[in-house]
């Protein structure tokens, strides 16, 4: 990882922030598998669209809505 890049949890990002999926925390394998199947895999591009009432983000070209607990498990590299 280059020094200009940093990783943050999706739940802490403001709408409009763009980056790439770094990894999904695997404390809940079922959740991680579901996210992976929906394309939330390391390297996928990600843009935050909204934080309330649900976290909405664009992953590649899929628009996904998740609850805050799920957003906390997605770690994003910010450009």
């Amino acid at each position: 990882m280059s020094p200009s890049e940093k990783t943050r949890r999706l739940s802490s990002l403001k709408p409009g922030t763009a980056g790439h999926v770094h990894h999904v925390v695997r404390d809940n394998p079922d959740r991680a598998d579901r996210l992976m199947a929906l394309g939330v895999t390391p390297g996928a591009s990600l843009t935050v669209l909204q934080r309330f009432p649900s976290v909405v983000f664009l992953c590649d070209h899929t628009e996904l809505a998740v609850e805050p607990a799920v957003a906390r498990a997605i770690v994003v590299t910010i450009e």
Partner: protein, 596 residues
Amino acid sequence: MSCAQAVVREPAADLLLTLRARPRRIALVGNANVGKSVLFGRLTGQYAVVSNYPGTTVSVTTSKATVNGEVWEVVDTPGITALEGVLTEDELLARRILEAREADVVVQVADARNLRRGLMLTSQLAAHGASMVLVLNMIDEARAHGISIDRAGLAASLGIPVVETVATEGRGLAELRDALGRAAVPVFAQAHRGDHATLAHELSVQYRRYRPHAVARFQERLGRLVREPLTGLPILALVLYGMYLAVGVFGAQTLVALIEKGLFQRFINPAATSLVTRAVPWAIARDFLIGEYGLITMGLTYAIAIVLPVVATFFFVFGFLEDSGYIPRLAIFADRTFRTMGLNGKAVLPMVLGLGCDTMATMTTRILGTPKERLIAVLLLALGIPCSAQLATILGILGGVSFAALLTLFGVVLLQMFLVGFLAARAIPGERSEFIMELPPLRMPQLGNVVRKTLLRVRWYLGEAVPLFLIGTALLFALSRLGLLARITALAEPVVAGLLGLPRDAAAVFVMGFLRRDYGAAGLFQMSKAGQLDAVQAVVALTVMTLFVPCVANFLMMVKEQGLKAALAILGVVTVIALGTGTVLNATLRALHVTF
């Protein structure tokens, strides 16, 4: 090729049609909402219900298609996200089809905009060793988003034919038919040893290119307006009001008046009456057809004149909303509330679908993550969600009373659903799943598809509901002839007249309500028109009717999805809640001297 599939050729030299002992079979497999059913329709010429959200296809559909002079069997499967790990029922079903080698060719349909996700599944499908073709559908939308895919390169890497299609317009279908003969087992099947994510990432980086794009700005802006609470909630209110105008005013008042007064009261019923009076000599048979509980004067009038116009307008508006991609976005707002009811935002899909038909919606609860969620959703559907036919009669009666009456009914029903959900979440063991939901793109619905869906559903209504209306009428006729109706009315009087404060004749209406809620509601509609119900009675009677289990068909579907024991338990709970709520509501309204 195994001998079971040996080709039986006609002796003629020219090969017009190849017949086999068992036709070769194509399975359409892929992520949810990528257009499998549209492609199925294009291949087979048979229309399957198509919507712009996942979960429309809940069971396997099979039909025949002729491809290059050979008859194939085409199987449409529900959308899946994975074949490994924790799987939904649909995914287990898809995996069984693959494991049993039921398909000779697996056609994976992928959304060209989401190549990575598609390839994740390709990688898992490859592990099953089936001959495959990869279809990149919606290639037009992908291009509009600035995506281009090196199809030849991808095909070479995968070792299977890759075809680009726009299924809704039939583009690329010829190429797909052609590619079926070249279907092959993916070459990378063994190389990757289960690391599907890495494979999908590498391939999509290698073969997909992005160009900066300015298109779809409008889509983005609309998406934001619909999604953010500040604009999204007023839009929701507008959508609901629009639905009320279309279904409640145009359908339930204008159209019903036109058909009931213009057609039935003026022509059909008098004609039937005079015909039957002249042609049928037996009084009992005359009564059976045109009496108080007559098949024509009651059964047909209810089904065709009162319910059908509203159901048809509802299906049209609903189909339009379905195809726009708007409905799943409601999950964003619903999630927090639903979580306190043991569900998550995804449950908005079966709930909204229930407004169309609770029976279908009960089947759609399969898309929910856990058994607990499915049970709660089935319970809430049975309890609170009025189906289109019933909405029809509610709007027809209370639209004529006052807006406050309408709000009272929906307020009480929503409150009751919330309470029951809240308690059920705590009483029923198990977990809820986390809210993770894909939002389909917002699209301008195609009028053709909306009309086709509406006609299909109206035909379904006529086929399923009308016979029940007629059976119900016949049953009432028999009960009334045998003097049993009077007994039931007398027996139910303490509840109907005492607790609910309704006229004692309303008991007959509740008997009808057990068969189909909307049929019972149609009976209330007639009573209120005849001036037998005051405003408070109308609100109480309709609230109780709404809280009842929707219909016999819905009950049977509950048995199928949840088992007899759970279905009976739901029936009991729902009936008690319905009568209890009606009693409290009646007492409260009377005590407060509400008149609407």
